[in-house]
């Protein structure tokens, strides 16, 4: 780097700036778009910073489609899936991390293998089954598959978290008369709260983002989730971009807040799940 006209530190800062712009600019641009009037949007050359910021597009976004209902459905489905996934994954992870079972690696491999199953192939039989048992257009139609979708990564995160906590504390509690599950409930789970939190956020985001099954199973107006509902603003040939942008901003903000607050935890969870 001797001949370079920028010091290594300056080059590093420049590279970081490029990464930040690459990652955040699209969301920022949608925010700008949502604050512009239709008239300002159809000017050429296009404007960058909104000249006369308006919240009108947000009013339209909520009036043209039941956006609040889409948000409610998405939150409900994601929270239910998160609750169910955490319960199921915690039990399984405890068994895999703490009990001496001969088929531990096989069981873990089977759970990981399901994460490589293409969701699209499950679409056909699940659609047929859900239709047959009348579960189309219900929260359950999405909550059950979303739970399976996040089960592998949650189990991996929790197994590695449980294994990082010494078993001595639980053993001590059991000597004091606690049952195995009592020790898990009173000692291990409180200590594992950060891991549970990480697994929970991953499940929530996975469920919040899912589109294909939501589009296929829950097409009734009252049960659409946000990613599905947000595609309804466009007509066959019309694209009301400012209103779509406002709806997108409404959809991005909740998850962006989660990410900003819990960034370190989410990143460590993702990398733990990805590396196994």
């Amino acid at each position: 780097m001797k001949g370079a006209f920028l010091s290594p530190a300056a080059m590093r800062r420049l590279a970081a700036l490029a990464v930040v712009i690459n990652g955040l600019f699209p969301a920022v641009w949608i925010l700008f778009t949502s604050l512009k009037t239709e008239r300002e949007l159809t000017q050429t050359p296009i404007t960058w910073w909104p000249h006369a910021p308006t919240l009108e597009n947000f009013a339209h976004a909520f009036a043209d489609q039941p956006l609040a209902l889409f948000v409610f459905n998405s939150v409900a489905v994601a929270l239910l899936a998160t609750g169910l996934t955490l319960s199921v994954a915690t039990l399984a992870a405890y068994a895999l991390a703490r009990l001496e079972i001969s088929y531990r690696n096989t069981a873990l491999s089977v759970i990981v293998a399901t994460s490589t199953f293409p969701l699209v192939t499950l679409l056909v039989p699940l659609f047929e089954t859900m239709r047959a048992v009348g579960l189309l257009n219900s929260y359950a139609a999405l909550v059950l598959p979303y739970t399976v979708l996040s089960l592998p990564v949650c189990t991996l995160v929790l197994v590695s978290f449980f294994e990082s906590i010494p078993a001595d504390l639980e053993n001590a509690a059991r000597c004091d008369g606690c049952t195995r599950l009592g020790a898990m409930w009173r000692i291990l789970l409180p200590l594992a709260t950060p891991g549970m939190f990480t697994a929970g956020i991953l499940t929530f985001v996975n469920s919040w983002d899912e589109f294909l099954l939501a589009l296929s199973f829950n097409s009734a107006p009252g049960l659409r989730t946000l990613p599905v509902g947000i595609t309804l603003y466009q007509g066959e040939f019309t694209f009301p971009w400012p209103v779509i942008s406002a709806a997108l901003v409404v959809g991005i903000v909740p998850v962006a807040l989660l990410i900003v607050i819990f960034q370190q935890r989410v990143l460590s969870g993702l990398t733990a799940g990805g590396l196994k």
């Binding site: 293409p118 919040w208 993702l270």
Partner: protein, 293 residues
Amino acid sequence: MARSWRDPSEQALARVLLAPAFALLALIVVYPVGRLLLTSLYDDSLTSGHAARFVGLENFQLVWEDPSFWSALINTLLIVLFTVPGAMVAGMLLALVANMPFRRKWPVRLALLIPWALPLAFVGLIAGWFFQSDYGIVNDVLRPFVSQKIIWFNSPTLSFAAMCMAIVWKTSSFVAMILLAGLQTIPADVYEAARVDGASKWQQFWQVTLPLLRPSIVVAAIFRTITALQTFDIPATMTRGGPGDATSTLAMYIHQTTVDFLDIGYGSALAVVMFAISMVVSTIYLRNLRTGN
């Protein structure tokens, strides 16, 4: 602990604790896949009015002769061919920057996490707006360099290219996070030794970083391949498969056949083909995992 694996109560408890997870997997994965293999052998169209009829491998014969299938399959394979290497290279660059010693780590961290957290369907819509021909920002930036405005979504090639760029942008952040985790496990003294031997930064990357990062690279590449094979959300929201069927994927064709046309038998046969392709990739993945351990 040595004796406890024979402890019968512990074995029973393990079975009870693992039961819900495996019951869910059986209900939502194993049973549907079995059902899929079965229905692919039937003429089972919910709009035809007649009951399902066993037709053997006839659906697969129809798949083989179906030009829409081949066009969707080729598009899907092209997406794999372009976006997997694209996301790997972009993800590597992002990971290398994210691994630099900054005092404040949160800006770069957020720049990786936000694209990961955005729903693919949102990214498709956002990209559609970016590449809009009159007021899109891409054409605005390109204006000084091109003689006339580019109408991205009228051209099969340009639509496909724009879609691939959106996919690479969206998926490279997850690749970057896997690679970043790998980079952080490389001990600093390896680089120290390379520097003492007179290796330049460039040589260090090729001769130290890349070989030591191989396990993470393989995991990321295979994960990316599996998700690229299933591409649905971004073309569905960005191009709706158009113009014509230039950006239509196998997943979109399966969805259309099943959900719109209610042709369960044919949709199943298409899904079985998709299943077979991704099983090949997952098998490589699982084998790699085992030798990796």
